[in-house]
Amino acid sequence: MTTSEVQVADFQLSPELLEFQQKVRSYAQQHLGGAAEYDAETKFPREPVEAAGKLGLLRTTVAKEYGGSAMGNLASCVMLEEINAACVSTGVTISVHNSLVNSLLGKWCNAEQKARWFPKLITGEWLGAYCLSEAYSGSDAAALRCTAEKQGDHYVMNGAKLWITTGSDAELFVIFARTAEDRVKGISAFVVEGSWDGVGVGKKERKLGLRGSPTTEIVLENVKVPADCLIDQEGNGFTIALDTLDGGRLGIASQGLGIARAAIDLIGEHLSNQKDKRGRPAASQPDQWQFADLASELDAYRFLTWRAATLRDRGIRCSTEAAMAKSCASRLSNRAARAAVSILGLVGAAGNNPAERLLRDARITEIYEGATDIQRLVIARGLLA
């Protein structure tokens, strides 16, 4: 969807977006208190995701004619920052569902396909998963080996996808598979439903963080995929994947902002509590510097993120801008979380404080949906072109 309305005037969100932000903030306060538990017990945040569905938060990137709220990329960014500031596992689930799956289907599927899948996706009855990575293709996505062989009115799909967010809990999978040999033009995109024969959930990863969000292998054994589940046309898969990632990167940038904000808030709270014997503020100067630097960068990279989102909302290509946002915000989230542990000290590392969880959760933002060094090369290429 594209919009020509001004969403950010002189760096302030429009009244509609401010209202939406408040709504999401209330949702987070009501439903996302269990982040520590999802983490400790590697438990999927089902209740918060269902509540998000009921509140309409899973339809922000879907057009109104298919039941969506069509709020666009900027609204998604605003929402995802709020959610990730409270619970990163819920955040990534919604980010993948909205920013990758729903966005992709909305942009590249035909009307019949949209009518088929969106009713279940916008309510959260179905959750979506995005299956690009494989064991031998991470940053080098075009090296994928999963195959979809055309046999009459269907394709037979074989292979295995790795590091699939929501892998064990999703019902709809967007899968990139090879329909021809050409490294790039041999890749096509499909929708595969989890209930079909041959679709299996493989190994579940045990991870540093993001432990409430199941990351699994998806194994495809002779899966019969009807031809009308091909997205767009054969050979256009890589283009679709890259285009979608621009939006996905804004989702992860917003995740980074949310994590950074939560960590900075912990530091701020700690500093406010530092008092000398007479009750006067006594935060150490170097801690205050770090706090000031991190808080300044948070504002700055939020603007980078919002800039890219407004471009995308206007239908303008934003690969360079999205890469800037993701690269900067994801690195900030890690610096901020590490600083929180350093400054809170023993308390921050003790595991009954959110700081150490944020440190573990933050680390993934520099890796998935395009590692930092890839983002940097995208930026350099974009600017020097």
Partner: protein, 350 residues
């Protein structure tokens, strides 16, 4: 491997420790960490090697080999297990703190018959009328230690006391790292304690315990940094992306060169501090600098290792996420790096 120019005896200690690490530690390190299992068997295996008396003087029943082989051996252990390093460090703190006082407990510490943990002055325990009061979080082996050696305040004076581990209350923690060292919360409410040293003797004992921690954590962090670099080299040498091994990419090489440089610089500080201490010179500032630099280098190396591993690095099987957690946990122990910076400032500017 390194250029510490150890004597043959010292080299033998390091080789023996290395063999234990390869045979017993490496195969189980991931499993124990993931299940947060306490590494008592490794601690006991080190006892059998007799290393806990390594740096105690011969007249007090130790090997009198100084701190140089201690840092060399901890580097080897740290490459695999920060948790085991930390247990040895606690034991070494106790050994050095108790050395002057001597007695049965020192012998038991040196023999590894009892597992000790040191609770530093930063936790603010108080001692009065023969009993100890205070609480601390993130104490390694909090629940597992046979004896706690506590630096406490008696009025305005410093006193070093021991309490039985069983006499204190403990709470386990899901801590960030050092999962096999069982960091926990510890509380004493008027627990009967035995005075080991008071006055200048207590100050000196605490000084030595702190030095053992700074040097030990620094050496183990150097090892941890090496562990991350080696894991990265291995992975990047095998992993193919864009048609060639990752290790061929300038991107990956540059990261590893910078990590190696940071680790090597920290290592030179550790060695220098250990050498100074063994020569009887003041090693305090250099040891604190080493501790700060080495932990930072370990954090850097683990962070880059995760990045080089990509998605694999975020999973538990590739060790580097453990190094990352352990490095940040090392950082906050012993008062934390910023506290050390402030102490360095106090020594240098007042």
């Amino acid at each position: 491997m390194h250029n510490l120019q150890l004597t043959e005896d010292q080299e033998m200690v390091v080789d023996t420790v290395r063999k234990l690490v390869v045979d017993a530690v490496t195969p189980k390190v991931q499993e124990l960490d993931e299940h947060r299992s306490f590494a008592r068997e490794w601690f006991d295996a080190l006892s059998e090697l007799g290393v806990y008396g390594l740096s105690i003087s011969e007249e007090k029943g130790g090997a009198g080999m100084g701190l140089v082989p201690y840092v060399a051996a901890l580097e080897v252990i740290g490459e695999q297990s920060a948790s085991l390093s930390r247990l040895w460090i606690g034991q070494m703190q106790a050994a050095l703190a108790l050395e002057d006082a001597g007695g049965d407990l020192l012998d038991e510490v040196a023999a590894g018959a009892k597992l000790l943990t040191f609770v530093g002055p930063e936790h603010g325990f108080t001692f009065a009328d023969g009993s100890l009061t205070g609480s601390a979080t993130m104490v390694p082996a909090a629940a597992e230690a046979d004896v706690l050696l506590v630096a406490a305040k008696e009025g305005d004076a410093v006193v070093l006391v021991t309490v039985e581990g069983a006499a204190c209350s403990h709470t386990a923690l899901r801590a960030l790292g050092l999962n096999s060292a069982a960091c926990g919360q510890l509380a004493c409410e008027g627990v009967v304690a035995t005075v080991v040293a008071t006055g200048d003797a207590a100050e000196k004992a605490i000084d030595r315990a702190e030095l053992a921690a700074w040097l030990g954590v620094a050496a183990a962090s150097v090892g941890g940094g090496i562990g991350s670099i080696e894991a990265s080299k291995k992975h990047a040498g095998e992993r193919i992306a864009f048609g060639k091994p990752l290790l061929v990419q300038q991107a990956v090489q540059r990261k590893l060169v910078e990590c190696g440089r940071a680790v090597e610089a920290a290592r030179q500080l550790v060695w220098q501090a250990a050498r100074l201490a063994d020569l009887g010179q003041c090693a305090k500032q250099t040891a604190m600098q080493a501790r700060i630099a080495a932990v930072d280098a370990m954090v850097l190396a683990a962070d880059e290792a995760i990045q080089i591993h990509g998605g694999f690095g975020y999973t538990v099987e590739y060790h580097v996420e453990r190094h990352y957690r352990d490095a940040k946990t090392f950082e906050v122990l012993d008062g934390g790096s910023d506290h050390l910076r402030d102490r360095l400032a106090a020594m240098q500017f007042t």
